[in-house]
Symmetry: C2
């Protein structure tokens, strides 16, 4: 208590509103709360070794990196710290792709208007050091990736920090790395396409009716129906990913039950994780634009 303060304390003023970092963290939490999101861990579905509680801890752990993203740290460093903090739970990777999508969006929101083009502009400003941090972040967790195409073996992300000298030699920025990955990775594709699908999905979240988790489940299905999930392609193959999208379309059209689809996908280990990442990014944008919980 200061000398000037009355014995009963001063008036605290209006309650604290959620800031950009709060909304990014809440987006991660609401993504996994949405149900049924067929094949994902969600409020009603777990895998044996990847469960709902790991996503809770991953969301909280990401926070320190998200704070860097809302400040003036390099985006690569913010991402690396977010992934490092996220990994402080026993299941390993929970939200790697979601964080890769969130970091430029958080930077855009914290520094001005949150638009896809502003987020992409932040992404384009990344440097070789950011690319190095991206590679360092693979040291924290196992992330499902395909083997690199011929000639790109030295840049295989599975090499982690060992690949950094190659990045430096070729002067590759994080933006360059994302451009190279855009054809096989749905999150990298979003960077390059100025977050087009993320922005579209955020508008859907705002326009739909019903509870937030119900809207999340709907938008997840719509995204999956629209494009094969690149994480499913990596873990299985293109054909499986296309079948999953066709099944999502059937569920949207009322020809099948999304709850049954959820059970089937979990049983097959068919987890459209990139679609979940886009859903988390869209939730962040929607929360920033006034989505009420």
């Amino acid at each position: 208590m200061t000398d000037d303060e009355p014995a009963v304390g001063d008036d605290p003023g209006p309650p604290p509103r959620r800031d950009v970092v709060d909304n990014a963290e809440l987006a991660l939490l609401l993504e996994v709360t949405g149900t049924p999101k067929p094949g994902n861990v969600d409020r009603n579905h777990d895998y044996d070794d990847l469960r709902f509680e790991h996503f809770m801890a991953g969301s909280v752990g990401s926070r320190h990196g998200l704070e860097l993203a809302a400040g003036d740290a390099r985006l690569g460093r913010a991402f690396e710290r977010a992934v490092g903090g996220m990994s402080q739970q026993t299941a390993g990777n929970t939200q790697f792709g979601a964080l890769l999508l969130l970091v430029p969006l958080v930077r855009a929101a914290a520094s001005g208007e949150l638009t896809g083009s502003r987020a992409a502009a932040c992404a384009r400003e990344t440097t070789v050091a950011d690319a190095a941090d991206f590679y360092r972040s693979f040291e924290h967790v196992d992330v499902a990736v395909d083997d690199p195409p011929d000639g790109l073996e030295p840049l295989d992300v599975q090499r982690g920090a060992e690949a950094i000298p190659v990045l430096a030699e070729r002067e590759l920025t994080l933006w360059d790395v994302m451009e190279q990955s855009a054809s096989v990775d749905g999150v990298a594709a979003e960077w390059v396409a100025e977050f087009e699908r993320t922005m579209w999905a955020s508008e859907r979240l705002l326009d739909l009716e019903g509870t937030v988790p119900a809207r999340v489940a709907r938008v997840f299905l719509e995204l999956l129906a629209e494009e094969p999930d690149t994480f499913v392609v990596k873990q299985h193959d293109q054909q499986t990913a296309e079948r999953a999208s066709a099944q999502a379309r059937e569920a949207l059209e009322g020809e099948s039950d999304p709850w049954r689809l959820a059970d089937e996908f979990v049983a097959e280990g068919l987890n459209p994780g990139t679609t979940a990442d886009l859903t988390a990014g869209a939730l962040f944008v929607a929360l920033e634009r006034g989505l009420d919980v």
Copy 2:
């Protein structure tokens, strides 16, 4: 990038670990993740107007107040800010009691060894200004309370900030207010009893086997079986609360199914919220003491 930093950035060092505030927030998230916690909102149960997503937003919103609790703000102010932030969702009160329990525990953890006696020592240092902030916090949300006993009407918490002159006149600290409420409020009773049940429950969480949500559900039932829930007393009556505890004992002894009990309690609107508050406090202590998620 500083001038001294190499083009590929410096080594980021080990990943960030969860700090005290992170663990307090995660405790709130894991409390509501534990299931079945009969009568509570949990991973598998909602009320129409009080749902899982409101607890997600409440947990994130509490964070700024929890940061004050981990710093050197007055405890009453930390609590008031936590409640104000928590209330930034459409359902109103989600974690008022849990935050009242957490604030002195967070202060103890952030300033030295986390023991019940140290947390109670922090609580005993509260002032009239802290009591005033406690009353101010009732302006943010509707909290279920009984009418005050004869003679204490001027201190009815439902008066909110209007009661502050009476606090000042009677020189009541927040500790005094908790002492006066200890016989009818399980969280106030914990303050006065040096967090005895919270500490016991934290040890149970550490000692039990199985996933964290399963341990949480077990410890919730054990706490409920042991003592009638004061929130149930306030919303219903003593007899109902004693029956709920008897039913919890039956479930623990395998004579009934806790999942069925959860459905019954939700249908009756019988929500042992104070037992949930204690569970959240216990989770915080257990996380600080090394509970792995």
